[in-house]
Symmetry: C3
Subunit: 139 residues, 3 copies
C-alpha cells in the first residue's frame, strides 16, 4: 500500500465555471502505477466544489441556472459585510455541494459510470488560480 499526494493547478473563469477533471485525474493515476485503491480530492478553497455529472453543455447550463435560483448571486449576504468581497453566495454553494470527493479505482482505472465525469465547479465571482490536491492510496 502506498500514499501519493499530487497537486493540480487550475485556471478557472469563476461564475460557476464547470470544469471536467476526469482525464487529468486519470492521467495522474496512470503515473502512480497503482492498480487498486482510492483517490481523495480536495478543492483547497471555500468558494468552489467537486461533484460528478454527465458533462455536456446542456447540463452545464442547467447547473448554472439551478444554483443561481437556489442561492442568488445578487442578494446581500452577511459574509459580504465581513470582508466586502461580495461572494457570500459562492461560499454557500461550496458548502452545500461539498469540497471533497473520494473515488475508487480498480485495475488502474477510475470507477465511474459511462456518462459520469468528475467536475470542479468554481462559484467565485472572478477568475481564480486554484490548487487541487489529489491523494492516491492503494497498491
Amino acid at each position: 500500500m502506498k500514499v501519493m499526494t499530487e497537486t493540480l493547478a487550475l485556471a478557472t473563469r469563476g461564475h460557476t465555471d464547470v470544469i471536467d477533471l476526469t482525464s487529468q485525474v486519470d492521467e495522474k493515476l496512470k503515473e502512480t502505477l497503482l492498480k487498486n485503491g482510492t483517490v481523495t480530492l480536495n478543492v483547497c478553497g471555500s468558494t468552489a466544489a467537486l461533484t460528478t455529472v454527465e458533462f455536456e453543455p446542456g447540463l452545464v447550463k442547467d447547473i448554472k441556472e439551478f444554483v443561481e435560483k437556489l442561492i442568488p448571486s445578487h442578494k446581500d449576504y452577511h459574509h459580504d459585510a465581513t470582508w466586502g468581497d461580495s461572494n457570500g453566495y459562492a461560499h454557500l454553494r461550496s458548502s452545500l455541494f461539498g469540497t471533497t470527493l473520494t473515488l475508487p479505482f480498480s485495475e488502474g482505472k477510475l470507477v465511474l459510470g459511462q456518462w459520469q465525469q468528475v467536475v470542479f465547479i468554481d462559484f467565485d465571482n472572478r477568475p481564480r488560480n486554484r490548487r487541487l490536491v489529489m491523494q492516491f492510496m492503494g497498491e
Copy 2:
C-alpha cells in the same frame, strides 16, 4: 492492508426510489474479513445518489416531496434538449446529493449511528438496473 472491490447489482423503480443498502454493505464487509478501514461506494451513473438517512416511510416521503419541490421533474431542462430523454432533473439532483460515499468500519462493523442508514436514491424517470461499486480498504 488490503483493497477489495465488490459490485452490487440493484434493480430500482426510478422516480426517487430510496433503497436501504446498509445490510448489503454490512454483509459484503463480513465476507472481506477486514476489521478496520473504510468502504468507498460509487453509484456508477449520473441520475442517482448516495447519502445517509433514518430509513422510515415518513422520511422517504419527505425526501420525495423535497426534491420534487427543489428540482421539479415537469420543468424543461437544457439537458433534455441534448438527448431528448427528459431526465435533466434527475441529473441535477444526483450532482447535488453526490454519487460517492465513504464510511469507516471498525471491529468488523460499519460505523453508523443507531438511526442512520446508507441509502441509494434513484432519481431517473424509469426503472433501472444499477451497478454499485463498493471498495473496501483496511486490515
Copy 3:
C-alpha cells in the same frame, strides 16, 4: 500503513449549531504520528452534517438563514407523524449536506485551503451530545 479509529465527543446547542472542528481533527492527527493519508469522519447520527466552510460569524448566519429558507423548521413533515419528535426538517438537511467527509493529510497536516475549515452542523431541534468518529488511515 495503519488504521486508527478515534472518537470525539461534542456537546452541541442544536438549531443549526455550526462548530469548527479543524483544530480538534488536527490535534488527533498529530497524536497518531501519521504523516500521509486520509481521515474519514462520520457524524453517527441523522440530524447533523459535516462540510467545509470559511468559518466566520457572517457566513454562519448565512448558513442558518439559507437552510431555514430551503427546508423550513416550522413546516409539517411526514417524519414528524412517525415519531412525533418534530425534527423532520433536521433529517432532510442532514441527508442533503451529508454526514461523512474524507480529507487528505500530507506531511502531518490536514490538506485544506487557507480559509477552509471543517465544520459539524447540528440541525436538531434541541441540544445534543454527539459522538463523531474520525478514522485515520495512512503511514
